[in-house]
Amino acid sequence: MSIPRYPLPAWHLDPPPPVEAALRRTRRRRAFVLTLALAALAMFLYWRYVAEVPRDHTGIEDHFKYGSIGSEYGNGVPFRIWRVLPEMFPEHLPQNGLTGYEALGFVVERDKDGRPTADTPIGFARRRGPGHVELISVNCASCHASTYRGSPDEPRRTLLAMPAHRLDLLSYFEFLIKCGRDPRFTVENIMARIEAQGWIDPVEKLAYRYVAIPRTRERLMESAGRAARLFEHPSGVGRIDTFTPYKLIQFRYRDPELLRPGNTDLPAIWNQAPRVGMRLHWDGNNTSVHERNISAGIGAGASPTSIDLPRLKRIEDWLLTLPPPKWPEDWPLDHSLAERGKPLYLRYCADCHGVPEESFKGRKVGTVVPLREIGTDPERLKSYTYDFMSNQYSLGTDQAWRFHTFRKTDGYANQPLDGIWARAPYLHNGSVPTLRHLLDPAKDRPKTFHRGNDVYDKKLGGFTWDQASSGGETFPKFDTSRLGDSNAGHDGAEYGTDLAPADKDALVEYLKTL
């Protein structure tokens, strides 16, 4: 017999009568449904107003053109601000006959009636963040996609992974900074423009008014101070000073000696598979395609923590086998002449640039030629310093991808010449406008020429270089006498510059087929 406990334990309750039990069940059900509803609401609110949501694209080409690589939180600008800046501050854009971000050389995709098919040019990715504010920033395609055409009357043809030979990336950042410093960059002015563009989520509106706009102005003004030195040696069209922004913004260098400009031509990035294991970058400072890509992502503005590796990997995988572009079928090509040029290529070029039929393998492909041999402009090489390299190793030390393979070299690396026709101008600093000019001795190459024209010179193998303007568009002058912009080097009998003109023509014709 059990001994009753007196008093009954505090938690003792009679069983509930049926109505109370039913009410409890209802309350529990209601609480459950309410909890679910609140959880769903919280998830929705989190997703809408807190979470970081990149704008994704199913197709790989769209992903390359508009997909995020995580640079938005490095140098992103709130999208709605970004969108109104060109119309608010057109005077801060290059005055080259084009309008909006196209004036900076970004590629706007258009339908056959000339209407843009996307609300940003190629090379801009968006990622939504707190307050439903979407940030926009450049991605791989901004520097590695551009246009070409056979004549000024033709529509521009877009080619992905080609060097953005029309892009003035530095001016883009300069434009943003100028806008940020402009006294008209006020909450009222920007909000008025934003609101004029249509409905805006009320939370987003508040976020813009009280956070996004003031903070963007603050950040741009802050950048103005930090990046001032960057604009002292403008890279110009189709080029970028790879390391100076890194040094100034990421590492906060102040020593002028450490801040030597090292402008380089933007490279093509197709067909990466054969390049695996080669010395990459113009000076061959790295042998890992993956590390090189992460470094480029950080260069595009991603931080070691914001870089979006899975999305970068999609691009990386695609680029491995993206074929180089063929010489357009509707363009003239003298096959017999090219045939004559082939032995010349094999004799003069193949050793360093590879045999096309053998996946561009060659004795010296992907190796570094010492500067004293190649003789090209040394500034890019000098700008990559031991000091900078050491600092690079300090990036992402807690990340699996942390850099291991950067090395300081003593020259420039040989590269495969796949799709070389679309990679003009030539040499690491883009100082030689066409393939034909590259076969001339350095002293005979153009001292100045114009960059940014996408009309192709089908004879010489490069973009039209001798016109300051065309079709209402002006093209900035490239002066080889400026520091770092020399067109010297890659010169001498072994580089084919002593060949007879007819042989040079034959070799150029062959190069067009690569």
Partner: protein, 451 residues
């Protein structure tokens, strides 16, 4: 006022009525309709106040009193403190009631009842039970829970009605009325809006009426001779009056058919009312006093799963007014003789007497209804609570009592919390103490007073 035969209203109303089959004769056409009051002991043992209560009406000239809601079993109660007839030990009490009423030449018909699921307060004895019903679906108004009855439970309840009838006869009462209306158990079986059974007690009208007809048979089996037996029927259910999405329930045609079967089964009379819930906008037809509802509803808040919901409505400043409007809207403009047309239709199709219930207190109207053959008698409750001597007033030539019932329904709601009586302050010249004095008069004399 005077008809073509030169008869005044009382000449018609005051004429005795004899139920041909049972031989029950009532001295006039005024029946006190069933109305309960919490006058008894908690366990259903009758109390002295009920004797006083019923005597008020007998003394006032009422021809026959139909008792309070008298449960035939504990599970059939709607409220504690209503006298029951569930055990033989209650016979003595009912005999006393009968005797007291008979002293005034008034008949006493006991209303045998079973609440089914419609138990406003099922009492502590039933605390862990839910209501019995033909369905598992809870009641639509208060959310009173229930469980569908098994066949053996049905048989048990049928038997309980028979046993209760036998007790009534042994108590010397004058007759029986089955409470087969107002949403109580028998009505739950009858109503197509409530009964969702698929066995022989659900589906067709014949099946739905089976339960009542078995009760009639049981009563006949348990009583001797041809004991007077009448059935109170909701002529039309209006089951969706409050919640329009509920089923409509039985139509008049269906009820007429049920009444015809009852006539065939030997029932002596039909008492016509309306509604398959109680209270219902049309029964008792009148107002819904939200001020009283907000306090009187308290005791039954915990009885059903919609109690708190209803209480919020009754206590809400706007919701209560909306509810009151909805209630009055569903009642319609007519109060007096609200069910007269229904009774007339039943009377036309039947040969047994028909008693009409519903908002009647005007002698001329009552006389006209009887004279026109719409009904043979009328049953009143609220007007008799207001004026216990209304039949005498009619006999004296009053068409309407000097202070008539206002159909405010305050008595109806007060019953949930307070002693039953007329709580219409306007009838007492706004003298609250006088009103309470009148209400409390039911407790005098008590058996313990030194006279």
């Amino acid at each position: 006022m005077v008809d073509q035969n030169g008869d005044g209203p009382w000449d018609v109303i005051g004429r005795p009525i004899t139920f041909a089959r049972s031989g029950l004769t009532v001295k006039n056409r005024i029946f006190r309709s069933s109305i309960s009051g919490t006058f008894d002991s908690y366990d259903g043992t009758g109390g002295y106040a009920r004797l006083n209560w019923e005597e008020k009406f007998a003394r006032g000239g009422t021809g026959a009193i139909i008792s309070s809601f008298v449960p035939v079993s504990l599970r059939g109660r709607i409220y504690p403190r209503y006298a029951m007839i569930h055990e033989d030990r209650t016979i003595g009490f009912w005999r006393a009631v009968g005797d007291r009423v008979h002293e005034h030449d008034c008949k006493f018909i006991i209303q045998l009842s079973h609440a089914g699921r419609q138990q406003d307060d099922r009492g502590v004895e039933n605390r862990f039970r839910v209501g019995m019903s033909p369905t598992d679906r809870k009641d639509s108004f208060h959310g009173l829970l229930c469980k569908s009855m098994t066949k053996s439970e049905i048989d048990q309840v049928v038997e309980q009605f028979g046993l209760a009838a036998r007790r009534a006869q042994r108590a010397g009462l004058d007759g029986i009325e089955t409470h087969s209306s107002h949403g109580y158990l028998i009505n739950q079986f009858l109503s197509s809006g409530i009964n969702d059974r698929t066995d022989e007690y659900g589906g067709s009208l014949e099946n739905r009426a089976r339960f009542l007809r078995e009760i009639i048979a049981s009563i006949r089996a348990h009583t001797t001779g041809h004991f007077h037996l009448q059935c109170k029927i909701s002529a039309v259910d209006y089951n969706n009056a409050i919640y329009p999405w509920e089923g409509r329930g039985n139509t008049l045609a269906e009820s007429v058919q049920v009444c015809k079967w009852l006539e065939d089964d030997g029932v002596d009379g039909i008492h016509v009312s309306t509604g398959s819930i109680f209270p219902h906008p049309r029964g008792p037809a009148g107002d819904f006093p939200i001020d009283l509802a907000s306090e009187a509803y308290d005791p039954i808040v915990s009885s059903g799963v919609r109690g708190r919901f209803n209480q919020r409505i009754f206590r809400g400043a706007i919701l209560s007014r909306l509810f009151r409007w909805w209630w009055r809207h569903n009642r319609g403009p007519v109060i007096e003789g609200i069910n007269a047309e229904h009774a007339a239709e039943i009377k036309r199709r039947l040969s047994i007497p028909v008693i009409l219930n519903g908002g009647l207190q005007r002698a001329s109207l009552i006389a006209r209804i009887i004279r026109d053959g719409m009904a043979d008698g009328v049953s009143l409750a609220r007007p008799l609570i207001a004026n216990n001597d209304l039949p005498l007033l009619f006999a004296q030539g009053h068409d309407l009592a000097p202070r008539p019932c206002t159909f405010c329904n305050r008595c109806l709601l007060a019953d949930l919390k307070y002693p039953l009586g007329c709580y219409d302050l306007s009838r007492y010249d706004n003298d609250y103490d006088r009103m309470i004095g009148e209400v409390m008069s039911v407790f005098h004399p008590s058996p313990y007073e030194d006279s």
